[in-house]
Symmetry: C2
Subunit: 167 residues, 2 copies
């Protein structure tokens, strides 16, 4: 665990790059930021009983998606149905232990779909408050996303002190 | 990554033990299953810029809780307000990479609070469908929980094929 400051900065940069790739609708970049077994030196043709590096993803309100096929298809679907999305990240916390990093953050999301009239303009913008736990793994080609779990925050404004259950 | 089968079995057992401890309202057991910096050989009096082993937890609909103080207080609060809770775990998937394990599972929860009349009997039982991502870290005293993120599944029954967004 040498140079932990650098580790934290690298992980934060990878986390920011991930949200930026989704904002830009850059599927290749999103795909490249998710871990592959090859990143870990695991032979993908061999069945690994420990499922090393198998990715998983939970979008807010969704069931679990497991493996690159399901996860990347979900991003293609979301990007195809989103004309505009922006993430304002707050409360970013990074914990690096060995070759794994855990990032928690609040995603203040502003998004819009196509205009209801079918014109060129955006539909109404919608705000959404989501909290995420992102797990990154150190690889020879940088920190890669092993797991993303996002969920809606249902508590009222005055109950978001982290101590009370949502009403 | 020797004996991966054993790793997966050990992680599954730790995951089961965690839910069992919550079911039994055993705060000491819950506390003992969450990672401490000491488990990793980190001196807790020294400020670690990488925050190695700092735990985080998201209950369904809640904001992020960070650190043993916030996380364990939330379990004390939940246990104090729950007379009966049972987890039926399905779709358990384990991915072990080095000294970190990622567990995803569906928590089919049945819970009950005190009877509304204040008698000895349980209140009405409530079912809840939650998906969880649990991150475990290998320590000299076994696999310990580094992160738990639970979230409600909002999709309708016929939309839970992992491909469609919730309605």
């Amino acid at each position: 665990m040498s140079a932990p400051h650098t580790d934290v900065e690298e992980v934060e940069a990878a986390n920011t790059a991930f949200y930026q790739a989704v904002e830009e609708g850059d599927f290749e970049a999103v795909s490249g930021l998710w871990l592959t077994p090859a990143d870990l030196g695991v032979d993908e043709t061999y069945h690994d009983p420990a499922d090393a590096g198998v990715i998983s993803c939970v979008h807010p309100g969704w069931p679990v998606l497991t493996g690159r096929g399901e996860v990347l298809r979900s991003y293609a679907l979301i990007m195809a149905n989103t004309d505009y999305i922006q993430f304002f990240l707050t409360d970013v916390h990074v914990s690096v232990t060995g070759d794994t990093a855990l990032v928690t953050c609040t995603e203040n999301i502003l998004s819009g779909g196509p205009a209801p009239t079918g014109g060129d303009e955006l539909g109404p913008l919608v705000g959404q408050l989501v909290v995420a736990t992102n797990v990154f793994r150190r690889t020879p080609s940088g920190w890669k996303l092993w797991s993303h779990h996002g969920s809606p925050v249902l508590a009222g404004e005055d109950e978001q002190d982290g101590e009370e259950p949502p009403s």
